[in-house]
Amino acid sequence: MKVLSIALNTFRENLRDKLLYNLLIFALLMIGSSILISKLTLGDFDRLMIDIGLASINFFGVLIAIFIGIGLVSKEIDKKTIYTIVSKPVARYQFLLGKYLGLTMTLFVNTTVMVIGLVLVLSARNIPVDMLLFKAVALIFVEFMVITAVAMLFSTFTSTTLSAIFTLAVFVIGHLTPDLKTFGEKMDEVGRMMMDGLYYVLPNLERFNLKGQVIHHLEIANADLALIILYGLTYTAFVLFTAGVIFQRRDFR
């Protein structure tokens, strides 16, 4: 219950920050590009619309996850509002979890509205929408959950600016981890072990990228999908747990 009320409060706070205005930009982008691109391109118009839609859903969400996520904890500390919370009978991990769920809720609403917008534009253009699109969006959302958790982890022990830099770094590296493995294979024993270690510890964000499958109608096996989602949730749990441990020992001054 405590977790939920903190979560709802965070959600309301996000709304007060006029965070959902990004939806307006998304809508303009979708409608504008659907008009423009039909004049500019040659063949395969469907593909372009789906690509732009999914990529912008992904991009906006990642930006929100990073830049709101890093402020979740540090803002409370800076404004000293955290004292009023930790002095109440709320465990620190509950505070952390509530904050996390609040932002996840915001992201969920945001993503849902964007998907509805995308589906509307697609159907207005007579582009068929298949289940795969929703599967891809689900995985995009799991990516948001992982990134939000990472942003929050950093914000429990460093400044906002540093958290932003670290989280962006994790986002970039997360999309390149397969290369880490390849590099490792070209190194000696120690190097390979280090690279392999990094490969398994860092999130493999490319796993959440089904955008290509959607445009080429390449079905993904349900077992694979379930495993990817499970991987994302487990990774999130791991990061949140680490954040909780760090936050528990943190001294607010």
Binding site: I37, L40, T41, L42, G43, D44, R47, L48, D51, I52, A55, N58, F59, F171, V172, H175, L176, D179, L205, E206, N209, K211, G212, I215, H216, L218
Partner: protein, 324 residues
Amino acid sequence: MAASLSLSGHHRIPPLVLSVLCGLVSVGLLISIWWMQSQLDQRQDRTLAQMDELAHLPKGDYLKPVLLGYHHLGADLLWLKLVQVIGKRQNSMNEYEWMAHALDVITTLDPHYAYAYYAGGVILGDLANRPDLANRLLERGHAANPTVWNIPFLLGYNYYFLLADPAKGAEYIMRAAVLPDRPAYLPGLATRLAAEAGKPETALAFLEARLQDTSDPEMKEFFANRMKEVMIERDIKQLEGAVELYRTAYGHPPTSLAALVDGRIVRDLPMEPFGGEYRIDRETGVVSSTTHPERLKTFFRRKKDPTYLYPRIEQPAYGFSKTW
């Protein structure tokens, strides 16, 4: 607001005048930005600038990781850019080589972008007259999308019409003819090509396979008929070869086909599959069938020599600036 307050405080400018002044200044700045932008556009040929950008495009293998999972969108944007350049009325040969590079990058970013291969193949093959570049692109496309019929189809077309290699053309059209969603005429076209390429055995084997594969009685009849036509083609080829042997052995052409058997050139004469017979023109030595006097061929007659003028290249011979 703070600035306006201090300004009006020190110089006693009425707020209305101040806001009008601010408005004028910002409009003036906007207009000058617009003017400078359009000046720059005029000074620098925009298409040239676009071509330059294409030239400095890094290889797809390097570009892909940089796009952090957005490589499909990257391929789309690049495609949009390419389409604008193709839209020019005339393109120079350098531009076509650039296009080949851009298509390479697009299809490396998204190897399943089947339309880009096909459209690229048409542009490079027919418009640029660079079947070497077109076929390299299409070969990659065929390897990455083995179930898309129009890529091997276009490869076959390029080999047949642009490179004057009907055997290879037939081979690719045959590959296309067994793929899903291909048009119904494709198997027939493939056999025509193979027959003309001097390989009736290939055509026969292909037709046999198609015949086994089809349940539709009309199609079965079509394939059976076409097989007989190809047999005629095969027989005529063999007979003409025998006539040539006879001529070298006896110094004059045979008066009839039966003379080939009498002269021990062939053991016996082939049966005409439609129930007619084979005849020989005594003057020219040309063999024909009574039921099918027309030879099986594609109905295309080349008006000019193949327009392939450029050296074949295995590795990209175009040098791109390494300064990107």
